[in-house]
């Protein structure tokens, strides 16, 4: 195995990234587990400035939604952009430096969190590095646009469309996060927009980019309809950024923006249906009969679909007031993130032979891990939904009965309803950590010890597309 520290082209760069990717996922799962442990047992576990729920929650957001996300984004762009546009990346050295800079700045943010914890904001970014991050994402977007303009393929493939959308909204989300807080409603404006542009659009668009690549190229199937893919793209691009406001229903946000959010969230049914039809019709023509590979893609798709359904359910008029300001939003936030992590695993499995020239064998370990990952993620999302509905009902029922649990007097009742699901989530978090460890193990085993097979050349990366 040869990994170049300074890569010459996208294949060399993909080699480095694919090697590091499982380790970053593992880091994210470890911090997430630690955070869940300190949420359920904070009064029993020994705590200090770092080991307490408040800090770990910020750190977990930083690692999952910023560091891991930017890492996946850069990896996906490096491999899929040239693949989709039919040409090798232009101005590659600059592209490499910008991508590396973006990942590096997110990593420095993680380190800075320990040195100067007060700099770390609620959703992860530190105020010190935010401006540099904006400049880097802007430069990265500029380079992607140049590659788009220099494309060789007659049409623009769906994978690259989604990648461009993700980077554009990543930049928008960072601009939003720098806004000033002048009145109370700004807290909800800024955070709901950051959530929906950075996590909802960002994670789901990178997911869809990899998804379309895997169901065509990975599954060796013919895309059923590009029109349906285009409907999904424009539908999600227009609707998703507006869907975050409804989780702050009844707050100081203006009524009209909450209502628009509700109606546009209901409209998510259109791109979702287009996606479902395209997926089911496309995989009907698949030639890759590897069951584990299909199962992993199916799980990722189910989680993504489920998250969209949760978005739609939470827009029903009787449900919205109950789920606002509760864990229900966490189901959606983590739903998009988990679907991205789930699709990443078959993506890495698919790329190992192509990038490293090592055969990837789907054994019992991979089969077991696929089901472990899928079930632990679906169960975690379901429990978060349950907690959201339970606590929401409890807050409302208590307030109506004259015993406002929101103030704390009756909080024991609420806690009795949600403490058990939280304990289960901690257990599932441990299972998720275990499965990410197994994923790392499978990948490293194949890279280091897999039997030699034919790898992809740079020209193949940039020229061969089945979408």
């Amino acid at each position: 195995m040869k990994i170049k520290l300074i890569p010459n082209n996208e294949q060399d760069l993909s080699k480095v990234f694919i090697f590091l990717l499982p380790l970053v996922v593992l880091l994210s799962a470890s911090i997430n587990f630690l955070k869940d442990a300190f949420r359920s047992f904070s009064n029993v576990l020994p705590g200090n400035q770092v080991l307490n729920y408040g800090f770990l929650d910020k750190l977990s957001n930083q690692i999952s939604f910023n560091f891991l996300f930017s890492f996946i984004l850069v990896v996906t762009v490096v491999y899929l952009l040239s693949k989709s546009l039919g040409r090798s990346i232009i101005i590659f050295p600059l592209f490499f430096l910008t991508g590396l800079g973006l990942i590096g700045i997110e990593f420095i943010d993680v380190v800075l969190a320990f040195i100067s914890p007060e700099q770390l904001l609620d959703l992860g970014n530190t105020s010190v590095l935010l401006l540099i991050k904006i400049l880097l994402v802007g430069a990265f977007l500029g380079l992607i646009l140049l590659n788009f303009l220099a494309k060789k393929e007659p049409s623009i493939f769906l994978s690259s469309q989604f990648l461009l959308g993700a980077v554009v909204f990543y930049l928008i989300s960072l601009l939003i996060y720098r806004s000033e807080y002048t009145v109370m409603s700004d807290n909800f404006f800024i955070n709901s927009m950051y959530l929906s542009t950075h996590i909802y659009v960002g994670c789901s668009f990178v997911f869809l980019s990899i998804f379309y690549f895997l169901i065509t190229k990975g599954m060796q199937a013919t895309l059923f309809s590009k029109t349906l893919g285009t409907i999904s793209f424009w539908g999600y691009l227009f609707l998703l950024p507006w869907t975050g406001f409804k989780y702050f229903y009844g707050t100081t946000l203006p009524d009209w923006i909450e209502n628009v959010s509700i109606y546009l969230s209901l409209s998510l049914i259109i791109p979702l249906l287009a996606l479902i039809v395209n997926y089911s019709k496309t995989i009907a023509t698949k030639e890759n009969k590897e069951p584990v590979f299909s199962v992993l893609i199916s799980f990722a798709f189910v989680v993504f679909g489920l998250t969209n359904v949760l978005q739609i359910i939470s827009s029903i008029s009787n449900v919205t007031p109950i789920v606002s300001l509760t864990n229900f939003e966490y189901s959606v936030r983590y739903g998009y993130m988990y679907s991205l992590i789930l699709i990443l695993i078959p993506f890495v499995y698919h790329l190992v032979p192509k990038i490293y020239g090592r055969e990837f064998i789907y054994g019992r370990l991979e089969t077991f891990n696929a089901y472990l990952l899928g079930t632990s993620v679906v169960a975690t999302l379901s429990l978060n939904t349950l907690i959201g509905i339970n606590s929401g009902f409890s807050w409302n029922a208590g307030a109506n009965a004259g015993n406002p649990t929101i103030y704390g007097e009756g909080f024991l009742i609420t806690w009795s309803l949600i403490s058990t699901p939280y304990t289960f989530i901690l257990f599932l978090s441990l299972l998720f950590l275990l499965s990410t460890f197994l994923f790392t193990l499978s990948t490293l085993k194949a890279i280091i010890g897999g039997s030699v097979t034919e790898s992809e050349t740079v020209s193949e990366i940039s020229g061969d597309n089945d979408e």
Partner: protein
């Protein structure tokens, strides 16, 4: 092949040479053989969609043109010459359009579309309504609150400890908190105080914490914050025994002010 070509030419009412050229162009675009294309035009099975999906719609467009061609003989004999030529032009045009559509899918238009949606979202979902809220507050009569430096320092400690990740200060359905009530009185509130409103209600809401038992009691609060299990072991709450004495004092001052500034 030639029989098939003649048959198709007869059906379409077009010269054989033109049909041959059209079929070749279609075959190249769809990835099928010329014979398969001719068969589909002659009324056989539709061409299988082995080509990229973008081209599927192109194949489906053909019968529409055929209908136009079939309608031609209904016209009067004098105009027949013109009518016969019309479908020929149309067909050439259609084929040209098909190839244009494949070759010139513009990156520029696509990029402009994405950037347009992004800018629309930024302005209409964020910048404009955010400024409107700020203007509303600026125009209000009572938009100031007086907060001491100790309270502000306490608010900063509260924010650094990320208490807002579990506790809100945003009671719904109460008049002072709904819509403009609370924002009107906090126009010049500190950024940290605004952030402390919180986004997720896991633990109890603290907006009226200083007006209720036992959270209005300084001794109880101190004990709860430094050793929560000794007060209430059924509900997990982090212990902040690592805080410096001054930070703990600031935090207590802030917590004991809640309910007063927001009323």
């Amino acid at each position: 092949m030639s029989e098939l070509l003649a048959k198709v030419a007869e059906i379409l009412g077009a010269p054989e040479t033109l049909v041959q050229r059209s079929a070749e162009a279609r075959a190249e675009a769809s990835g099928n053989t010329v014979e398969e294309v001719l068969q589909s035009w002659a009324g056989g099975e539709a061409i299988a969609a082995s080509a990229p999906a973008a081209e599927t719609s192109v194949v489906e467009e053909a019968p529409v043109e055929e209908v136009v061609v079939e309608e031609a003989p209904v016209e009067e004999v004098k105009e027949e010459v013109v009518v016969e030529e019309a479908p020929v032009e149309t067909m050439e045009k259609v084929i040209e359009e098909e190839s244009v559509e494949l070759k010139k899918e513009s990156s520029l238009i696509f990029i402009a579309g994405v950037l347009g949606v992004a800018m629309f979202t930024y302005f209409f979902a964020f910048a404009i309504p955010k400024n409107q809220s700020a203007d509303l507050v600026a125009e209000s009569l009572n938009n100031e609150i007086a907060v001491s430096q100790e309270v502000l320092k306490g608010a900063q400690v509260y924010n650094d400890l990320n208490c807002q990740s579990c506790h809100t200060q945003n009671v719904r359905l109460l008049i002072p908190d709904s819509q403009n009530g609370k924002i009107l009185k906090n126009k010049f509130a500190d950024e940290v105080i605004i952030k402390n409103t919180g986004l997720l209600r896991l633990g109890p809401d603290l907006s009226t914490s200083a007006t209720r038992e036992p959270t209005n009691n300084e001794k109880w609060l101190t004990r709860y914050l430094t050793d929560s299990a000794s007060v209430r072991d059924t509900i997990p709450h982090p212990n902040y025994d690592f805080l410096s004495t001054s930070d703990l004092d600031y935090l207590l001052t802030y917590l004991l002010s809640l309910g007063e500034v927001n009323e």
